[in-house]
Amino acid sequence: MKPVLLDVAGLSTTFPTGRGPLIALDDVSLSLDRGRTLGLVGESGSGKTVLARSIMGLLPAHAHRQGHVWFEGQDLAALSPRDLRDIWGREIAMVFQDPMTSLNPVMKVGRQITESLRHHLRMGKDEARTAAVDLLDSVGIPEPKRRADEYPHQLSGGMRQRVTIAIALACWPKLLLADEPTTALDVTVQSQILDLLQAKQAERSMAMILVTHDLGVVAGRTNEIAVMYAGRIVERADTATLFAETRMPYTESLLASIPRVERPSHTRLQAIAGRPPDLVTRPGGCRFAPRCPYAQPRCAEEEPPLLPAPTPGHTFACWYPVGTPAGDEALARNTASNEASNKAADRAADGR
């Protein structure tokens, strides 16, 4: 039997800082099969980008990585930089957030595609040129022949991102890592680019990891979703299950913070108070507890492990999960005590 395409096992990444090691990624495991799409969701600093880069082996030199990245049975974490270069582009490709910085500003876009075609696939000059123009055409760039001879700054933001996708797809990778590919773009262009990625993924039965901070972006476009918080995966499920049977309060809060166009205007948004924890001096217990509407004393003491939910493939890390009796009770208790303290505060204010 063929091994799964990607199997990340116990991956941790730390960065040394003046105050001690910053644990950006803490013992993360996940697997992804051929042709599947995984949405990787979390706030800035949740470790989602570090995870994508740790899989690729694209980390700054001072970073320290532990664990295994099995790609078709081969441990990428054990490969030399030289062998990794044969994997990059050819087996795994990446699309970054900012197309302006990921493209070479002084090289024509056609040439940026042919470079990798000639290097990885050993194509001849003319063959590569034809293939590059075809690629530009296939990612929806009008007049691909003319565009191939232009420089990145002559293209719009959306067109540039199409070019980076064309470069990423050039060598038919088996896995595409898209790191916030639409965050820098307008909503209208965002939906175009996501449609394009989805179409290419299906057409080539390529696996894809879509990294984003917006659950709305991955909702209709992925098979499964992993939600990250403070360097760990806190909930993982099939996309439909995650939305229908949300267990982790953090996932619920992320979902609730999205402004919905169907609600009347001036509807108050459910923001998550506070910010993610400091990853150097992080507190014990559940990392989300200080911001969690369900938090109980146990959450501050004991860190919940990633446990399976009744639905197969659904795991979450929470002591008082959303939609369970324990969770409902915890939320009710917190709501009651909040109201009590608000009333006490009101009384104090009235008394003044």
């Binding site: 262009v189 449609d195 209709g220 999205i258 402004p259 009347p264 948004l269 923001a271």
Partner: protein
């Protein structure tokens, strides 16, 4: 779309801000070429109202926001603020009005001086206008406004901006804008650079501050869901022109301009059962160049309904429903159909 006209404006005496026939053009590379950033846009904001201005990057919405502030001054047109014609004011009289209209920007990092301490950044407007105030009074004012935006003076005041997260930097920017207690707050994409979770915090904060300081807001963004959430009235802008103006709930219920419909359709829906892009024609292609905009209706090159008339004749904003205005020859939706039945220009006045 891409229409002109002033039919949607309300009684002049009521508006705090009234922009009429505003034009902003910049010189472009090449002899005599111009960027037509804003072309004949009119809009007004009543006191206490939030007007949302929505459109893609490059549609001129930020340029319009800055032209309202006279930074830089518009090429032509009128900007009346509280009865004063700003375009006619120069030097000191204009400067005297500035504390009444403040602005916050998209990039929370770029809008704070990296080498000044947060306490000084927020105190700067007071230093400009109330130089006679004692140190203690200034500190008290800064402490109060920082508390209003959810920051603690004692921990924040001595720090530099880079020691704060993006959302906190945006709070600092808001504090700086509020410390002079302005009447009008122009928000130029204040949440586009933030995560959804932080975005919700800042949007809630702006709603709170609007109530506490009695603000009137011009809220500029590219995300219609965000704009709708915070605005009373929304103006949809495309390539330097207005497409549609309506109360925010009315705009969502009955999008009448094809561009508005496309904007609505491209909002990502956090529901796996809704297939993205199905049901509404999402837009293909890019915004045309504002150097050489299309003739007639500027949206026609991307419009699924464009006809011969659209290339020849520029549509004008006309009434199509309850305080609902659209600039389109072939409007869509229930209001659009009603409009077509009554004849194209029957409701123009």
């Amino acid at each position: 779309m891409a229409g002109s006209g002033t039919a949607h404006l309300r009684d002049r005496a009521d508006a705090l801000l009234r922009v009429e026939h505003l034009v902003v053009e910049f010189p472009a590379a090449g002899r005599g070429r111009k960027v037509h950033a804003v072309s004949d846009v009119s809009l007004d904001v009543l006191p206490g109202e939030t007007l949302g201005l929505v459109g893609e990057s490059g549609c001129g919405k930020s340029t319009l926001g800055r032209a309202v502030m006279q930074l830089p001054r518009p090429t032509s047109g009128s900007v009346r603020f509280g009865g004063q014609e700003l375009t006619a004011l120069k030097g000191e009289p204009l400067r005297r009005l500035r504390p009444q209209m403040q602005m916050i920007f998209q990039d929370p990092i770029s809008s704070l001086n990296p080498r000044r301490r947060v306490g000084d950044i927020v105190a700067e407007p007071l230093a400009v206008w109330r130089s006679g105030q004692s140190h203690g009074d200034v500190q008290a004012a800064v402490r109060a406004v920082l508390a209003d935006v959810g920051l603690d003076y004692d921990t924040a005041a001595d720090r530099l901006p880079h020691q704060f997260s993006g959302g906190q930097c945006q709070r600092i920017s808001i504090a700086r804008a509020l410390v002079l207690e302005p009447k009008l707050l122009v928000c130029d994409e204040p949440v586009s650079a933030l995560d959804v979770s932080v975005q919700a915090q800042i949007l809630n904060l702006l709603e709170d501050m609007k109530a506490r300081y009695g603000l009137t807001m011009l809220f500029i963004a590219h995300d219609l869901a965000v704009v709708k959430s915070i605005s009373d009235r929304v103006a949809v802008m495309y390539l330097g022109k207005l497409c549609e103006v309506a109360p925010s709930d009315g705009l969502y219920d009955a999008p009448t301009h094809p561009y508005t419909a496309a904007l609505l359709a491209s909002i990502p829906v956090p529901n796996p059962e809704v297939r993205p892009g199905v049901g509404g024609g999402t837009l293909s292609n890019d915004l045309p160049s504002p150097i050489d905009p299309p003739s007639g209706c500027r949206f026609r090159t991307r419009c699924p309904r464009a006809g011969q008339r659209c290339a020849e004749e520029e549509p004008v904003l006309r009434h199509c429903g309850d305080d609902h205005w659209v600039a389109c020859h072939f409007p869509v939706g229930k209001l659009g159909q009603a409009l077509s039945h009554t004849g194209p220009d029957a409701m123009a006045d």
